[in-house]
Symmetry: D2
Subunit: 300 residues, 4 copies
């Protein structure tokens, strides 16, 4: 089995390394030469363009940073469509807006190809271990065909619906997680102001209606959950920049659907501002720190 | 043991009934004659004022709807302070803002009494069963003394810190729960717009970073969680009005502490608006319904 | 002078009618046959495609409802680019996001054409009178060349900067206007709750730091400003749907620039929700009505 | 004419100095000895308590920083009520929440006094010049009686309605001004990101629907409006802390009235956060600076 693999950056490199380990022949391309070189050192063969990657692969896998990168990788001159073979299966594992994903899916189908959107979650550690969660949108038959390849990169691989549904599922999950992180941070800031201990409050909430995965695993207050990023100066985890991006995609998707989203929009803006003030590469739970005064306040 | 019990409404009545069952003599007062009458039919003796309730009780329990009602119950002419005995313990089980709670606590102490704030959660069903959760703020010794009484009304009774801490803990929990309900509703509205099924999305989120108690127990989309209010036309549970009130108290408390609270403020406003548009007495998870179009939209 | 005119709907039709009155030969195209027929009755000649309109025109004018319509009008098969002549000037008068505008501008330039973005404000009445305000982005020389054509449609024609700047200026203006309408509505709802008269409050604010064009000309409270839409049951004016769209474009543009926008995002969501609840085709000042209770509320 | 004057701080001192200049005998009290001393140097006679100020004055004037200070000044032992004379007129010129203002008004009336709320705007410069704007709530006859005193301190003195109405009018005006400052800042940040000049955008908006007093007089972008605080490193003017306070009072008042306020709440939070990050004593138009990145951002 040959795979054309486009996008060999922070996430793509460990993912293709897992394909190589399973005996897959990987033909890699990236616009950044250093990233491409690193793919070669992981066992891939470098090719000259996305189109070439498509030509060499039975299947195409793409994982790039943004919606416009996906559009370029598929539609630009020298892009996947220029090398696409009749009936070829393309799997886009980027996290992008569902609308763009659907439009690229249509363009691939219009040229006789097939398309799955299959964004991942779990970050670099789970990309390295091959234990990513992968949410897949597209045709059920195509999903079955893609399973072995996806299974080499992730362990929790789930078909969630038609084209774009993988992206939708990922963004919806991250919408709730991102908002919850801000809400938990606000709650603990209030408690702090009244001198209520974070430990006892955590115990109360853990047994009550305010319990969330975010508090259990990524508690924004240091000293309470051992593996939480807050205990290592908010080293990610999942960065504020990436969460701001995903919330932004969710809010934009909502706009196109005419769905009002109040708390998602508010959380997006505060994470964006936190990023502008130096927390972009920290874990998104660092919004808690951003809500604390950075300088002494004057009495009103 | 005698208890002076002030506030015999929807919550107060079943709570005092549990005291009566344990053999406590309850001297009840309420400003609403019908409520007081209903307390009598539950086994309490009616008295003529809050001051009289204090005079007859070894301990005073108050549970009234709002901050200003608590202030009146204690400080007005004929209020608790007018009947307060040296060293008498007062337990306020109302959900109010922590600042007011502290001010009333001070007023009680200034007259030689003692004060605990002990708001409850669980609603009428658990008030009836005597299985409320009770979060208590105040002196640790006073808490131990109050335990038998609180234990007659609730099963999960926890001391969370100094005066006001019970209120803070309750509001902080409800802040997260209220925001989470809006976030989950927004996420499922987006998914719906893209044709992604609510069932599969629930499964994805349940295993991922977006999981919340609210989705597990009070899923806003009907048909997914058997006991959720959404499955019985959003009969509460906990009403939109009460959640809007608690978010409002949290936001006001944050204001007094100068803590910025973005998602709490946004959630407060949307629940307030939902209430204004007819959902005030429905469960707060009905915000999901409010986010759906109520009338056909024109194309732009 | 010949003009190829694409988009002959509510706004496009009266605009091209003004070109016809000035003696311009207009070659019109619209995807909706009825709209195209109405252009013919206003004096235009119908052609079979956007490409044909470009072929017949010395200059191309486009005015269509959304970003994706602009992309289609220029880039689809049979679109403007298929008929574009070397050096031909294209003027897009649609209100769309500045990023898309810039990308279309680049595509036109890549084919040897020139491009101005020139969104309008003033609505159908001023489109009919030829007194639109027109904000133009692009090359200064191209702007001078376009002046006579734009001058036939508008009276306040201003060059605001490079490609995309026209869109940016329009969205930024509407961002402030849209937010102001919500803020004014909130202020007058509070005043109403306290029994403070809208007339005296208007006089106070008019002389103070809260004064806005919106309150002076489109007062959301009926009975205060004669020509305000609120005095004719919120007949637009400028619809809630269009303002929600423009705020959405502004928020999306901000996202792409990583600029945090708190009040714009909040106003976008509340206008979107107002639209979902039946006010989409009313003037956007009807948000005031939306903030009023639509049903009696229960006491908490 | 004798006036008992309570609150001789930054605003109170120049205000009482204007009374002294008109020949009024001022009996001053402040809880801060230095402030009281400074009142003496302005020509007032110091007294030992608020009650004493009431005893010496024909009329009582109070101007203190917060709602709880007003409550203390009137209701504490040694407060105004302890020295109140039958029929005496009290004028509270503090900016506080209308609900508290009404409650104090009732307490004064219950003891046989009369009460006006008369908050001011214009800051220290206009307090010094005696040209404050003064918005007055209360009985029309009382207002006429108070006119000579208020006229010594301000030039734009207006009766806006019943008890509390002065506070309401001030908060409603400031709500719009505060929200507008954030909206204008967001708009100019977006324009900046697209390379659209602030000068030309200002000209466009000034003639269009987005025009506001705030942009005309307190333009948040430096270099455009000569007297704007932005041109002197955001020296106030009106501080971020005070605007955050007033928006907070407006949002709390809205909560008590059950009025949803989306943009007011969002603006309150962002100004509060700006204050926490060092801009509390700058002019509130410095929110523009806060929305700019304070540190370089990483690409996503």
């Amino acid at each position: 089995m040959n795979v054309g693999f486009i996008g060999t950056g922070t996430m793509g490199r460990p993912m293709l390394a897992n394909l190589v380990k399973k005996g897959v022949a990987v033909f890699a391309y990236d616009v950044v030469p250093a990233a491409l070189q690193s793919a070669v050192s992981a066992g891939a063969k470098a090719v000259a363009s996305a189109a070439d990657a498509a030509r060499h692969g039975d299947v195409v896998v793409t994982i790039v940073p943004s919606s416009s990168n996906v559009v370029s990788a598929y539609l630009d001159t020298g892009g996947v469509l220029d090398g696409l073979k009749r009936g070829q299966l393309c799997i886009d594992m980027s996290t992008i807006d569902p609308g763009t994903s659907r439009r690229v899916a249509e363009a691939v189908r219009a040229r006789g190809g097939r398309f799955l959107d299959a964004p991942v979650s779990g970050g670099v550690p789970r990309a390295t271990d091959g234990t990513l969660a992968i949410m897949v949108g597209g045709d059920a038959g195509d999903f079955e065909e893609a399973r072995p390849i996806l299974g080499a990169m992730g362990t929790n691989v789930i078909h969630v619906g038609p084209a774009g549904a993988g992206e939708v599922a990922k963004l919806c999950n991250n919408l709730v997680a991102g908002v919850a992180a801000v809400a938990v941070s606000e709650a603990f800031r209030i408690a702090e102001g009244f001198g209520v201990g974070a430990k006892v409050l955590t115990e109360v909430i853990a047994k009550s209606s305010g319990n969330t995965w975010v508090m259990e695993h990524m508690h924004p207050v240091p000293g309470l959950v051992e593996k939480a990023p807050s205990n290592r100066d908010y080293e990610p985890g999942f960065t504020t920049d990436l969460m701001a991006k995903d919330l932004g995609l969710a809010v934009t998707a909502a706009r196109e659907l005419r769905v009002p989203v109040f708390v998602a929009a508010a959380a997006q803006q505060v994470l964006r501002l936190a990023s502008s003030h130096g927390l972009g590469r920290k874990d998104f739970s660092s919004v808690y720190r951003f809500l604390r005064p950075s300088s002494p306040e004057a009495p009103v």
